[in-house]
């Protein structure tokens, strides 16, 4: 889980062009949207693409997005629960 979250932080920085951040700047439980990292709706779409590209996971129901993309930890938990074997 720790390694997965570390990988996710690097992938999020790369995919979302967050060049002003380092992986250690992103807390495991830190909110990604609004009051946290300040991501927006386009970033949410990029996160969906990221899941598909890196983890072969297609979001079955986009309305689940706000819960899944709440933090790096919630994304990692979703990947663990849904990654194809």
């Amino acid at each position: 889980m720790e390694q997965l979250m570390a990988d996710l932080k690097k992938q999020i920085i790369e995919a979302l062009n967050l060049k002003h951040l380092k992986p250690e700047d992103i807390g495991d439980d830190q909110p990604l949207f609004v009051e946290g990292l300040g991501l927006d709706s386009i970033d949410a779409l990029e996160l969906i693409v990221l899941l598909q590209q890196h983890y072969n996971i297609k979001l079955a129901n986009p309305q689940d997005g706000p819960q899944i993309f709440k933090s790096v930890k919630t994304i990692a938990e979703y990947i663990r629960a849904n990654q194809p074997s």
Binding site: L16, N17, L18, K19, H20, G38, I42, D43, L45, E46, V49, Q52, Q53
Partner: protein
């Protein structure tokens, strides 16, 4: 009578403010240069890194124009207009977006596949809410810019106008922006097509 109170250029990977080079970086990619230019101007604006190259160029040019005198310290948001032009519209980003569709289309690239997005980014940053227009012409056209900007400035509402040329395709980039103001100190260059041609060169 309106006059040109500020102007800047970005070309050959060099920022020029009022005709003077303020930052240059020949090595690396154009993206490297643009990101380094933001650092050089000491502008903390994380959203810059998400922009396409045209928006980054327009953003940097606009910053140079207002760095010492923010527009909204002198004007209401609705009093400032923005008129831009280029030759390649959003083709630079269109190509990158098309490449991304071969695997998974990038939403972040898609939102920049319109030429006038650069104007939107400048307006968001500078708080501009006045008239705006974006023209696509084969080459820098001082006559068109002069004529249209004068029309915009002829309205009572508009007191200032940021205008110019923001073009990029691949590594080729060319920016000329100027600020036109109705109220200005004496001795500023008059707004004529010939003056624009001279400042652009």
């Amino acid at each position: 009578m309106s006059a040109i109170t500020r102007y800047c250029r970005i070309h050959n990977r060099t920022l020029y403010n009022q005709g003077q080079p303020v930052f240059t970086q020949a090595e690396g990619t154009l993206d490297d240069f643009l990101d380094a230019a933001l650092q050089a101007l000491s502008i903390p604006y994380p959203k810059f890194y998400k922009m396409d190259r045209a928006s980054k160029l327009g953003f940097l040019g606009a910053e140079m124009l207002v760095k010492d005198a923010p527009l909204l310290s002198r004007y209401a948001p609705e009093q400032v207009a923005l008129v831009l032009a280029n030759a390649h519209a959003s083709l630079d980003t269109d190509i990158r977006y098309y490449e991304s569709t071969k695997t998974l289309a990038s939403p972040a690239l898609f939102v920049y596949t319109l030429a006038n997005i650069v104007g939107g980014e400048i307006c968001i940053r500078q708080g501009i809410k006045g008239e705006n227009a974006f023209f696509v012409t084969p080459a820098f056209d001082p006559d068109l810019l002069h004529t249209y900007v004068e029309l915009v400035m002829a309205t009572d509402k508009t007191q200032a106008c940021m205008a110019g040329w923001v073009d990029v395709l691949g590594d080729q980039h060319d920016v000329f922006l100027y600020l036109l103001e109705k109220q200005q100190p004496a001795g500023m260059p008059e707004h004529t097509a010939e003056q624009l041609r001279k400042l652009y060169q």
